[in-house]
Symmetry: C2
Subunit: 258 residues, 2 copies
C-alpha cells in the first residue's frame, strides 16, 4: 500500500519507526509535557470507563536513589530524566464503587487482567504521545525484582501493582528500529496455525543477524538466544514465578487458593 497517499501517513510512520531508547541526554522535560503525556494515556480505551490505572511520577532524588538501590540493573534508569510507574489500579475503582454505594465485585484474577490491559493500553498511548512530542522512551521491569519494597516506597495500597516503569527523555544514542517476525508468523486467518520449527528458526536467524549488525548486544551477550537464556533461565524464572505469585496474592491480585 502506498502510505504516502494517505493524509495521516506521518502519524502512521511515527508508530512504524518507533524504537525503545535506553540512554538519554541531560535535557529536562517540562511538567506541561509530562501532563500532556499522561492525558494521552487516559485517552486509551478503558473497561466501562473505570480507568483501572494510576501513574506515579517519581522525581524526588532521594526516592530515586532508594529505587536504584533496590534494582541491580540501573544504567537505563540513571540516565532517564522522567520516571513514571504505570500501575494496574483496582483500588480506586473499588473505592469509587463503594462511594456510589454499589453492590459490585471484582474477582482477583478478573481485576488483575482488566487492570493490566487498561494500564498497558494507556502506557502505549503515552509512548506514542512522547514520540509525537519529539521525546523517546523505554518500558522497564527491573522493579519486578523488588515489587514489595518499591510498592512501600510509592505508598501503594492493596490492589495496586507497579506494572511498568516508563522512562522518558531525549535520546542520547543512535538506534534504529528493531526487527520483528514476519507478519505471517503472528497473524492468522480464522484459525491459529503454529508455525513450523523451520519457519521459526528462519525468522530467528534473520532477526538475530539484524540485531548483531546494529550492535544491539553487549555485556558478553552475542545473540538473541543468549539474551533470552539469560533473561528466562529456568532456575531464576522458577524463583521469580514463586515470588510473583506470593506478591500478587498479598496485594489481592491472586486468590489465596485457586
Amino acid at each position: 500500500m502506498n502510505l504516502t497517499k494517505h493524509n495521516n501517513a506521518s502519524q502512521l510512520s511515527l508508530i512504524l519507526k518507533r524504537r525503545s531508547v535506553r540512554r538519554f541526554d541531560r535535557r529536562a522535560v517540562s511538567g506541561d509535557i509530562i501532563k500532556t503525556i499522561v492525558k494521552a494515556g487516559q485517552r486509551a480505551p478503558t473497561s466501562c470507563g473505570t480507568q483501572f490505572y494510576s501513574f506515579i511520577l517519581v522525581n524526588d532524588t532521594r526516592e530515586r536513589r532508594e529505587i536504584l538501590n533496590l534494582v541491580t540493573e540501573n544504567r537505563v534508569l540513571q540516565s532517564a530524566p522522567i520516571w513514571i510507574f504505570v500501575c494496574s489500579d483496582v483500588a480506586r475503582p473499588l473505592k469509587m464503587f463503594k462511594s456510589l454505594r454499589m453492590d459490585c465485585y471484582l474477582g482477583e484474577v478478573t481485576g488483575l487482567i482488566h487492570s493490566v490491559i487498561d494500564a498497558s493500553l494507556a502506557a502505549e498511548n503515552m509512548v506514542i504521545a512522547a514520540e509525537s512530542l519529539g521525546l523517546n522512551s523505554v518500558f522497564t521491569i527491573y522493579h519486578w525484582k523488588a515489587i514489595q519494597e518499591i510498592s512501600r516506597l510509592l505508598s501503594l495500597p492493596r490492589n495496586v501493582l507497579p506494572l511498568l516503569l516508563l522512562c522518558i527523555g531525549y535520546s542520547a544514542e543512535k538506534s534504529t528500529v528493531r526487527p520483528r517476525w514476519n507478519t505471517n508468523v503472528v497473524m492468522h486467518k480464522n484459525r491459529y496455525r503454529m508455525p513450523a520449527k523451520g519457519r521459526l528458526l528462519w525468522n530467528y536467524r534473520r532477526s538475530n543477524k539484524t540485531l548483531v549488525n546494529m550492535g544491539y548486544f553487549s555485556q558478553g551477550v552475542e545473540s538473541l538466544a543468549e539474551n533470552w537464556q539469560r533473561k528466562f533461565a529456568s532456575k531464576e524464572m522458577m524463583l521469580r514465578e514463586k515470588k510473583l505469585r506470593r506478591e500478587l496474592r498479598k496485594i489481592g491480585f491472586l486468590p489465596n487458593r485457586l
Copy 2:
C-alpha cells in the same frame, strides 16, 4: 502548553480525539490496510523481542456466525467488517525457545502478565494505526463469556488466550470523546494518594453528566453507576471469576495450585 507550536501536533491530536465506535457502515476494509494495522501492532515494545502475541483475523462467514451465537451481546460485532482477536501467546515463544534448544522457563503467572502486557501494547498501536488510516475501532470482551468454545473455534493451542476482540471499520455513528477523571485523580507525585470520597464523587458526577448529555446510555441504563452495576454485579462477577480461573488453569495461565 501550546501544542500547535509542535511539529507533530496532529499526531498527538489523533490520540487525544480518539473515541471507541460501536456502529460501523458497510464499507469493506482492504487486506493491505489490515496488514498495515497488524504491522503497526508489531512495532509496540515487546518483552526482550519475544512478541508474546498473535492476531487472528476472522472473516469466514460461518465462523463469525458461530461466534455470534456464543456471545449474547452482538450488535457491535455484527456491524463491524473487521474482527481481529488479539491473543496473549506464550505457546509460540515457548516453541521458539525449544527450537533453539534453550533451557528456558516461563511460569504460568509470569507468562500471563508478560503476554497480556505485550498483547495490549500491540493492540493499542493497532487502534492508533487504524485512526491514522481514517478507520475507527472498539475493543470488546463479549467472548470472555465463552473463552473455551471460542478458543476451540479458533484452534488455539494451550498457552494462547483470546484477550481482546478488536473490531475495526468506518464509523456509522456520531460520537464524541468520552470523559475521563481529572488527570490529578490518576496521576501522583512520588507517592500514591488515594483521592477522597468527595473528589471521586465530584469527578463521577461531572463524567456522568457529560455521558448523559451525549446520549451515551441506552437499553434502560441511565447512568454510569447503573452501567457498572450491570457489568460488575457481585453475583454474576463471582461466577465469572470462578469460570475465568478454571479456564486460565486449563490453558496454562494459572497453576493448578497456588
